[in-house]
Subunit: 205 residues, 2 copies
DNA sequence: TGTATAATATGACCCTGGTCATTTTTGTTC
DNA sequence: GAACAAAAATGACCAGGGTCATATTATACA
């Protein structure tokens, strides 16, 4: 598959991959802040400037890493692969799996979240929407199955779930939050499903 | 009120206020990134090092600014002051008002959000939960009024609303999102109230 | 193979956030 | 008010993110 690419393209992808691998390892080992761009570049055997030919900023490597890790998740979510038949259950499963990834550790998750959020005017389709899209896909399937209202934009709902996922993850990690993380995440999804309306709201609306 | 404070305390508060004022003005004028700590210190007529006697980091001034601005909002939310009688309507109103604040502009909102989110282990009660607490207060009133389920922790729900508020704000600001922002925010609250469950989920759960 | 052109790599350099030893100010005690 | 202690201000300094002019490498074409 790579053979019909030019040598240039092959080298480029190779360097890209080496940078990501080096970054992931160093982040895991020393955390985000304690890892310098120079160290990443060094470990990938390129000069510091080269790093910035591949990523606009130090933070920009995080969404790329996230997308990389997420691709492996996609086929685990197939019902044929043993995933639950219920789309909502699959959503919960996906969140639990993501939460277990080394990228979801306290030091990185916050940075990743910040990097994913559209700080500034994003021109084109920005990366880091990988999780939102993966979730949107499951949301769509849940809509077909009737587990989620059909009148909502799947990508919108996917974005909401992703955002709340990060919030819960961060709260659980460094706030003091009772119980295991999977329960917290599952409860969050249930809350979103059932809504927060009380009796007087439901009857009036 | 200040007269029974020592001169030291008075000067300290005065400097604190000057730093915040200078920062707000410069951020408004040039944006967050284009404003340096030295400029803020200069405008507040202190040395750069002094800034860091008052705020741990450049970002740390944002939650302080937010809290400052938010205090004015609190009494506008009193029903006696003309605010809606329905707590849920007051929540929506609060979000719209916050969205209009200069701090909620695209350049700052993202940074503020990132600063508010617990990146790392926060030891004590961290600042920047001001909005979550304000919302939690309204949520509690909504629970008393029966508009929101009584079995939920108000602070939890307040945190959820705050997080989704920022998400919507950022999406609307720099994504392309149809319609006026107040409608988007109101719709977001309604979604949270009604839940996203479809017919098959409701009957099965 | 030689040459021109575009893509990529490089590291010296700059800027700014953040630190810290030192100085200045304030409060206290005699 | 002199002497001392505690608090606060200061700016030289450092580290690391990010830039850019230049050097190197790959491709195209004769």
């Amino acid at each position: 598959m790579d053979s019909n690419l030019s040598r240039r393209e092959r080298k480029k992808r190779e360097t890209h991959r080496r940078l990501m691998g080096a970054a992931l390892q160093l982040f895991r080992e020393h955390g985000y802040d304690a890892t310098t761009v120079e160290q990443i570049a060094e470990a990938a055997d390129v000069a510091k400037g080269t790093f910035f030919n591949y990523f606009d900023t130090k933070e920009a490597i995080l969404p790329a890493l996230a997308e990389w890790r997420l691709r492996q998740l996609e086929d685990v979510l197939m019902p044929e692969r043993g995933a639950p038949a219920s789309p909502v259950a699959r959503i919960k499963m996906a969140l639990c799996l993501v939460a277990e990834d080394p990228l979801a550790n306290p030091s990185l998750a916050g940075r990743l979240f910040a990097a994913i959020m559209p700080h500034r005017q994003e021109q084109d389709v920005h990366p880091g929407r990988a999780l939102a899209r993966l979730l949107a896909d499951q949301v769509h399937q849940a809509q077909v199955a009737g587990e989620i209202r059909g009148d909502l934009d799947p990508l919108y709902v996917g974005g909401v779930i992703r955002t709340l996922f990060f919030q819960q993850l961060l709260i659980w990690h460094c706030g003091q939050c009772p119980g295991p993380l999977p329960d917290l995440l599952s409860g969050m999804v249930d809350l979103l499903l059932d809504g927060i309306a009380g009796p007087r709201w439901r009857q009036s609306s």
